[in-house]
């Protein structure tokens, strides 16, 4: 499986007046792919928390609701990142999106990949600590912090995509 440009797309890229539009489209597609990767990592973290929930219910631990709240937060973040705006402004809009700005969006997404990996590791940690109440409590707080940081970066990206 590879990411390649079709003949039609290559033609589009050399047509004067159209190639800029096409290049932006390709960056947007890349942005979607990167966001997809972030969302998939968060979905994996969510599955880890679901496993943790089941283990927690098995040993009757007190943090069931705490894990459940973090799962919902992850679910919300996953949907937000997967369906985030791709940075499009029409011909008549006052604010225009240039290639450079679209690349900034990609940078945000790349940064979020790293954060999402970190979140996934913490979710795995929670899963591993299901039978240890004290360590579980700390792990929950750590994950909550990481989610808050992630949401901040995501909000900054959204503001940027909205031309603010």
């Amino acid at each position: 499986m590879g990411k390649e440009t079709s003949i039609v797309e290559k033609l589009e890229l050399i047509i004067p007046g159209f190639h800029g539009y096409k290049k932006k489209e390709l960056i947007r597609e890349d942005d979607m792919l990167v966001r997809g990767k972030v969302a998939d990592t968060l979905a994996q973290a969510k599955r880890e928390l679901e496993r943790a929930l089941q283990r927690c219910a098995m040993v009757n631990c007190q943090q069931l609701m705490g894990i459940e709240n973090l799962r919902k937060k992850l679910m919300m973040l996953e949907s937000r990142i997967r369906h985030a705006e791709a940075g499009y402004r029409g011909y008549f809009d006052r604010v225009k999106f240039k290639e450079k700005e679209l690349e900034r969006l990609l940078e945000y997404d790349a940064k979020m990949i790293e954060m999402a990996e970190d979140i996934l590791n913490e979710a795995k940690n929670i899963n591993a600590q299901a039978a240890n109440p004290q360590a579980l409590g700390m792990a929950l707080l750590n994950l909550d912090d990481k989610l808050v940081n992630f949401e901040e970066v995501l909000s900054r990206r959204m503001s940027f995509a909205a031309g603010e």
Partner: protein, 331 residues
């Protein structure tokens, strides 16, 4: 002309929709919206799950080719099934009992979404062309009722009302795997209402107040007797005065078995055992409304009737000259 395949105006509860035309031309344009995916099947096999965007479908239905091979009925069939990825709401409800065997009715809502479109189509939908939330609810109802019955029966009714969120989370955790097995994701479960009968509600209230199941059962019996006596206007009051205090007596303790005579000299007299502590105060009941009143009360706190007593403190009927319990003269 280019064939455009798109799910236009999906209904609120529709989860999947099958594009009705199976002869999809080469180069047909498939439009998939952000909130859905399209499963593309060719020659009966699933080829891909296509996400949001515009896709060009390549089938073997080249205009000349299929007419040449199959005439009007093309053998190169292709199917597009749209699956909505939004969250759907289903309802559940049923009846079970709590830890103290009180009957409870419960009902609520749950939210789910399709997690794995291929699994969902192959395991649940099959060849149907339209599938909605009612179908899923019908499919999953037994899992819900089983989970609810199991968890609600582990709680007392008071704990249940205080921990509804915990119960719903536990049910959700239990059902997650069942949903995942069908290619669905259970997003949330909420209990909207839990209810029991009036009779049980009163019984549980008194159980909480007194902490004594026997007293509550006695009270139930007295209430039933009072209700039955009320049907006989002539005998009601007098019989009630005699019968009701009797019903409040503690059941007699089983007598000690007699010692068989062995001819041996009597054992030295043991010091008398300390008598078991008597209940602090015998519960009294108002002869007019049948509700329990504080010991020695002169008026019923529920119906306001004056409670007449003999010099020994027994409740006596209005206008009586002698106490029906101890025979003392009423001044």
């Amino acid at each position: 002309m280019v064939q455009v395949i798109e799910w236009v105006n999906p209904g609120e509860d529709e989860i999947i929709w099958r594009y009705p035309n199976e002869v999809i031309k080469w180069g047909a344009q498939l439009i998939v919206h952000e909130y859905e995916v399209a499963v593309f099947m060719r020659d009966g096999k699933i080829y891909d799950v296509l996400g949001p965007g515009r896709h060009t479908l390549t089938t073997q239905n080249l205009p000349l080719l299929y007419k040449l091979v199959g005439g009007s009925n093309s053998p190169f069939k292709a199917t597009v099934i749209f699956v909505s990825m939004k969250q759907f709401q289903g309802r559940y409800g049923g009846e079970t009992q709590t830890r103290e065997l009180a009957p409870v009715k419960y009902y609520g809502v749950y939210w789910f979404k399709v997690a794995d479109p291929v699994l969902f189509i192959t395991e649940v939908v099959g060849g149907q062309s339209l599938y909605d939330t009612q179908d899923v609810t019908k499919f999953i109802r037994a899992y819900f009722n089983e989970g609810m019955m199991k968890h609600l029966s582990a709680y007392s009714i008071v704990d249940l009302f205080q921990n509804l969120d915990m119960v719903s989370t536990q049910v959700k955790v239990k059902l997650m795997e069942d949903f995942r097995r069908l290619g669905l994701e259970l997003v949330d479960v909420k209990i909207e209402g839990v209810n029991t009968t009036d009779e049980w509600r009163q019984r549980l209230f008194w159980l909480m107040q007194t902490g004594n199941a026997q007293a509550v059962m006695q009270m139930d019996t007295v209430k039933q007797v009072a209700a039955e006596l009320g049907k006989s206007p002539g005998a009601g009051m007098g019989t009630g005065m005699v019968l009701v205090p009797q019903l409040f007596q503690q059941p007699a303790q089983p007598a000690q078995p007699a010692q068989p005579y062995a001819g041996a000299p009597p054992a030295p007299q043991q010091p008398p055992q300390a008598a078991p502590a008597q209940p602090a105060a015998q519960q009294e009941i108002c002869p007019y409304c049948g509700k329990p009143i504080p010991p020695g009360a002169r008026f019923c706190p529920y119906c306001g009737h004056e409670i007449k007593r003999c010099p020994n403190g027994h409740i006596v009927p209005e206008g009586a000259k002698f106490c029906p319990v101890c025979g003392a003269k009423i001044e």
